[in-house]
C-alpha cells in the first residue's frame, strides 16, 4: 500500500504499539491482559509496518527472523517451568521474589512464563503471516 499518510503514521504507531504490548504483558497478572494478548498486539504492530514498508524492511527491523523467536520463547517458558527443580520443588511451582517492584508488581516464575509466551506468540504469528506475505509477492 502506497498511502503516504499510513506510511508516516506507521512509523510513529509502531513503537507506541510495541510499548503498549509490553504494558499489556506486564499488567496481565493484575488487570486484563497477559502474554497472549500482548504478543498479538506486538504482531499487529509489525504487520501494520509490513503493509506500508514491505515485508523485507520489517524483517530488517527485527534482530532475528521471527521463526527464531519461537524457540526463544519456548526456552524462557520451559526454563521458568523447570527452575523450581533446582531448589528441590516439583516442576512448575510458583517462586516469587518477596518484595514487589513498584510499577510491574511481583516478579516470579509465572511472569517469565508469560514473557516466554509473549515472544512465542509474536514468533508464531509473524512466521505464519510473513511466510504467506512473501509467498504472495
Amino acid at each position: 500500500m502506497k498511502s503516504i499518510i499510513l506510511k508516516t503514521a506507521t512509523e510513529y504507531l509502531l513503537p507506541i504499539l510495541l510499548l503498549f504490548s509490553i504494558f499489556i504483558l506486564l499488567r496481565g497478572h493484575y488487570y486484563p491482559g497477559g502474554g497472549f494478548v500482548g504478543g498479538l498486539i506486538a504482531s499487529i504492530a509489525f504487520v501494520l509496518h509490513s503493509f506500508t514498508h514491505g515485508v523485507n524492511n520489517t524483517l530488517k527491523l527485527l534482530p532475528v527472523h521471527p521463526s527464531g523467536l519461537i524457540p526463544f520463547g519456548l526456552a524462557i517458558s520451559a526454563a521458568s517451568m523447570f527452575l523450581p527443580l533446582l531448589s528441590g520443588k516439583p516442576v512448575m511451582t510458583g517462586l516469587w521474589v518477596e518484595q514487589p517492584i513498584p510499577v510491574i508488581g511481583s516478579i516470579g516464575t509465572a511472569l517469565f512464563f508469560d514473557i516466554g509466551v509473549y515472544f512465542l506468540v509474536i514468533g508464531v504469528v509473524l512466521t505464519i503471516l510473513f511466510s504467506i506475505f512473501q509467498y504472495s509477492d
Partner: protein
C-alpha cells in the same frame, strides 16, 4: 546379569561412531570378543546350575505397572544362553571372514549384537512383559538382518513378510501374556508357576493358550505360518545360520518350554501342539528333499525340526521333556554347521544349486569332513549326538499317553526324509566328481571353515561322551520344565524298539538319498497356499485403504467440514434424545439489554451478507464482523481478556485471509441451490442442537466449587488479581505449555510448506 544382557545393545550403539574401525580387516575379529566374553560368563555358571542352583537378578524399571528387569538363570535359560553366545561367537568369527570388505560391515555387526542381546533377554527374562519386549526386539533386528542386502527388492520383501508375521504373532502373544498376568496377579513367571492350577481352570485358559500358541507358532515357523522362513534365506548366510536355525526361531519353542509349568500338561495344550508340530514336521521334511537350493533344503529341514520340538513340547511327558533340550542342542549344532558350510560353498563357487555341485572334497577337505559329520548327526548315525537325540524322540513318542504308534509313525517318516535332506546338504556337494567349472575353487580363510568344523566335531564328541553336556546342562534344563526328571544320557540302551526304529530310519533315509533325483514335485500348490493367502490379503488391504483414502480424504475442505459436522450432529442428537425429556425453561436466561439486541442484529446482518455475497473479500470481512460482534458479547458479560484476544486474532485472521485470497482466482460460484439447501439444513440442525444442549445445561445444577477455589486462591497462592491470567500461567500452566508447543508446530508447518513451495517454483 543385567549388564550381560544389555552388553550387546551397548556394543551396537558404540558401533555407530567407531564402526569404521571394524571395517578394517585386522580389527573385524575383535567383534567376536563380545559373544566370547558372554559365553565364558555363562559357562562359568555351569557347575552351580548343574547342582540345581538358580541365579536371579532384579532391577526395577517401571514398578507401577509391574515391568521390571527380572532375570533368572536356570537350566533351561543356561542352555539357550550358551547356545546363543557360543554359536554367536562362531558366527561372528565366520562373518568376519564371509562379509569381509562389505561396505555395511559395521552395521551388520551392530544388528547382530543387538539381536544377540535381545535373544539373551528373551531367554533370561523372568518377567513376562520384559520377555515380550525382547521378543519383539528380536523380530526387529531380524527384520534388519534379513533385509541386509537392501538393494534387492526380494530381500526387502522377505524381511517385511517376516516382520509382519512375527509381529502379528507377537501382538497376539502380548494379549495372551497380559491376560495370564491379570489372572494370576503377577508378571513373574516363577510366581505364575505357583498359581498354575488357577490358570488352567479359568474360563480364559483356552483363549490364553490360543494367543500364546499364535506367538510361538509365528516365531517358530509352524504350519501355516512357516512360509516366512524360506524367504528369510535371502539374508546373508551368517544370519541364516545364527537366527534362522539356531536361535531366533527356537524362541517360540523356548516360550513353550518356559511356560510348560504354567500352562502345560492339559489336553488343550497337548492336542493343538501335537497336531501343529506333527503337520509341520512332516510337511517340512517332505518338501526339503525336493528343493535344489542348498539353503532352501536347510530351511525346510529347519521348519521340520522346529515342528519336532513343538511336537515334543505338546506330548509333555517326562520322556518328551527330556528329549526336548537334547534335540535343541543337537539341531543347533548340526544345522548351524550345515548353514555355515553352505555359506562357504556359495561364497567360493557362486552357486547353491545341488545339481551343479559335486566333488568339492577335493578342494575343501576340512569342510567335507565337517559336512559329513554334520550330516551324520542330522541322520542320527550312532556315535553322533544326533543319534542320542533321535533315540530320545522315539522314546518320547513310544511312551506317549495317547496314540503312541501314530506319533511314532509320524516321527519315523519325518526322520527318514530328514536323513535324506541332511545327506543332500552335507554330503552331496562333496561327493562324486569335481566338474571343471569348479576346479578353481579353493579353501577360504580359516575364519570360515574352522567354525563349522568345530560345530560338527562337537556333535561327534557329545555323541561319544553324552554325559558331558547331559548332566551339566541338559538335565537342569529339563528340570526347569518338570522337577525331578532324571535324564542321564547314554550311548547304548540295549537292543530295543528304539534302536530298531533308528536303524530303519537310517536305512530308508539312505536309500531315499540314493534313489531320488532333485526335482520339484508337480504338486507344489499345497506348498504355496498359506503364502498365497497372505499375499492376497495384503493386496486386499492395500485396495481397501486406497478406496477409503480416495473416498473419505478427497482433499476438499468443504467435504471434511460437512462430514465432521454431520457426524457430531448425529452423535449429539443421539445423546440428547437418550438422556431424557428435553426441558426448555427460559426462566434462567438473564435479562436482555438493548446493546445485545443491536449487536445481535448486526451479527445476523453480517451472516446474511457472508452467505449471499458474490465477492470473496466481502465474505471474509463479513466473518470478521461476526467475530467482532461475538467479541462485544464477551465484553458485555465481563470477559475482557477473552474479548481482547478474540479481537486481535480476528484482525490478524482477516489480514491473513486477504493475502491468501489475493492468490486465488476470482470468486467462482461452486454451490448450486441443492448444495446450499443441504448445507443450510446441516448448519441449522447443528445450531439448533447446540442451543438445545446449552438450554439443557442451564437446567443442571452448576458446581461452583472450582471457580470459588480459583477466585479465592488466585491472590493468596499465585500473587495475582486477574484470575483468568493466573489460571493460564500458573494453575493450569502445563496446558498452556502444550498449547504454545502446538502453536509453534503450526507455525513450523506453515513455514516449511510455503518455503518448500517457493523452492520448487524456483526450480521451474
Amino acid at each position: 546379569m543385567l549388564f550381560a544382557v544389555l552388553a550387546g545393545f551397548f556394543v551396537s550403539i558404540f558401533i555407530i561412531p567407531f564402526g569404521k574401525y571394524l571395517k578394517k580387516t585386522k580389527y573385524t575379529p575383535l567383534a567376536t570378543l563380545l559373544p566370547l566374553s558372554l559365553f565364558i560368563y555363562f559357562a562359568a555358571h555351569i557347575p552351580a546350575i548343574s547342582n540345581g542352583n538358580v541365579f536371579g537378578s532384579h532391577y526395577a524399571w517401571v514398578p507401577s505397572i509391574g515391568i521390571n528387569f527380572d532375570f533368572q538363570l536356570d537350566g533351561l535359560s543356561l542352555l539357550f544362553s550358551l547356545l546363543i553366545t557360543g554359536i554367536g561367537t562362531l558366527v561372528f568369527l565366520y562373518a568376519a571372514g564371509y562379509m569381509k570388505g562389505h561396505p555395511y560391515l559395521d552395521r551388520f555387526f551392530a544388528y547382530l549384537s543387538m539381536f544377540m542381546a535381545a535373544m539373551l533377554g528373551v531367554v533370561l527374562s523372568d518377567n513376562i512383559l520384559l520377555l515380550f519386549i525382547f521378543w519383539e526386539l528380536t523380530s526387529i533386528s531380524s527384520f534388519f538382518l534379513i533385509g541386509f542386502n537392501n538393494e534387492s527388492a526380494e530381500s526387502r520383501r522377505s524381511s517385511l513378510i517376516a516382520l509382519v508375521i512375527t509381529g502379528g504373532g507377537g501382538f497376539l502373544l502380548m494379549v495372551g501374556l497380559v491376560l495370564a498376568g491379570y489372572i494370576t496377579g503377577t508378571y513373574s513367571i516363577q510366581e505364575m508357576i505357583h498359581s498354575n492350577e488357577a490358570l488352567k481352570q479359568h474360563t480364559l485358559y483356552g483363549l490364553i493358550l490360543l494367543l500364546v500358541f499364535a506367538g510361538a507358532f509365528t516365531k517358530s515357523a509352524q504350519f501355516p505360518f512357516h512360509f516366512w522362513l524360506p524367504g528369510a534365506m535371502k539374508a546373508p548366510t551368517p544370519v541364516s545360520a545364527y537366527l534362522h536355525s539356531a536361535t531366533m526361531v527356537k524362541a517360540g519353542v523356548y516360550l513353550l518350554a518356559r511356560l510348560f509349568p504354567v500352562l502345560g500338561g492339559t489336553e488343550l495344550w497337548t492336542i493343538p501342539l501335537v497336531i501343529a508340530g506333527g503337520i509341520t514336521m512332516l510337511y517340512g521334511a517332505f518338501y526339503s528333499i525336493f528343493r535344489t537350493d542348498l539353503k532352501e533344503i536347510l530351511a525346510y529341514s529347519t521348519i521340520s525340526a522346529l515342528g519336532i520340538l513343538v511336537f515334543l513340547a505338546g506330548i509333555g511327558t517326562k520322556e518328551a521333556l527330556i528329549a526336548l533340550p537334547v534335540f535343541v542342542l543337537v539341531h543347533a549344532l548340526y544345522k548351524a554347521a550345515l548353514f555355515l558350510i553352505t555359506g562357504v560353498i556359495d561364497h567360493e563357487t557362486g552357486t547353491r544349486n545341488i545339481s551343479l555341485l559335486s566333488g568339492l572334497r577335493k578342494v575343501m577337505m576340512p569342510l567335507a569332513i565337517a559336512g559329513t559329520l554334520a550330516a551324520f548327526s542330522s541322520a542320527g548315525i550312532p556315535l553322533t549326538f544326533g543319534f542320542i537325540g533321535k533315540d530320545l524322540v522315539y522314546e518320547a513318542t513310544l511312551h506317549a499317553d495317547n496314540l503312541p504308534y501314530i506319533l511314532t509313525a509320524v516321527a519315523l517318516f519325518t526322520n527318514i526324509f530328514l536323513v535324506a535332506a541332511g545327506f543332500l546338504a552335507g554330503i552331496k556337494p562333496f561327493s562324486g566328481q569335481l566338474p571343471d567349472s569348479l576346479s578353481s575353487v579353493h579353501l577360504p580363510h580359516g575364519f570360515m571353515w574352522v567354525p563349522p568344523l568345530l560345530l560338527s566335531v562337537s556333535g561327534v564328541i557329545f555323541g561319544c561322551f553324552p554325559a558331558l553336556p547331559g548332566a551339566s546342562i541338559l538335565q537342569p534344563a529339563t528340570q526347569s520344565m518338570i522337577a525331578g526328571a532324571d535324564s542321564t544320557l547314554k550311548i547304548w540302551h540295549g537292543f530295543n524298539t528304539v534302536l530298531l526304529l533308528s536303524a530303519v530310519t537310517i536305512v530308508c533315509g539312505t536309500l531315499l538319498y540314493f534313489i531320488k533325483k532333485p526335482v520339484r514335485p508337480a504338486g507344489s500348490i499345497g506348498l504355496a497356499l498359506p503364502e498365497r493367502v497372505f499375499t492376497l490379503s495384503a493386496r486386499l488391504l492395500q485396495h481397501l485403504s486406497t478406496w477409503y483414502t480416495n473416498t473419505l480424504h478427497n482433499g476438499f475442505l468443504r467435504s471434511y467440514l460437512l462430514r465432521i459436522i454431520v457426524f457430531s450432529v448425529l452423535l449429539l442428537a443421539y445423546r440428547v434424545i437418550n438422556s431424557g425429556p428435553i426441558e426448555i425453561s427460559l426462566a434462567k436466561i438473564s435479562t436482555i439489554s438493548i446493546y445485545e439486541i443491536v449487536v445481535a442484529g448486526i451479527l445476523i446482518a453480517a451472516i446474511y451478507m457472508t452467505v449471499t455475497s458474490s465477492s470473496r473479500l466481502t465474505a471474509v470481512v463479513g466473518t470478521s464482523v461476526i467475530g467482532y460482534c461475538i467479541c462485544l458479547m464477551f465484553v458485555f458479560y465481563s470477559a475482557p481478556d477473552l474479548a481482547m484476544t478474540q479481537f486481535t486474532i480476528d484482525t490478524l485472521t482477516l489480514v491473513l485471509f486477504v493475502f491468501v485470497l489475493f492468490r486465488l482466482p476470482p470468486f467462482l460460484n461452486f454451490a448450486n441451490n441443492k448444495v446450499r439447501i443441504r448445507d443450510g439444513i446441516v448448519a441449522a440442525s447443528f445450531g439448533i442442537l447446540i442451543a438445545l444442549v446449552a438450554l439443557q445445561a442451564m437446567q443442571q445444577p452448576i458446581d461452583t466449587e472450582i471457580s470459588k477455589f480459583y477466585a479465592e486462591n488466585a491472590y493468596k497462592l499465585a500473587h495475582g488479581k486477574n484470575v483468568v491470567n493466573v489460571i493460564l500461567v500458573d494453575f493450569r500452566g502445563f496446558d498452556t505449555m502444550f498449547e504454545i508447543v502446538v502453536l509453534s508446530v503450526a507455525a513450523l508447518g506453515v513455514f516449511s510448506l510455503i518455503n518448500l513451495r517457493l523452492k520448487s517454483s524456483e526450480k521451474e
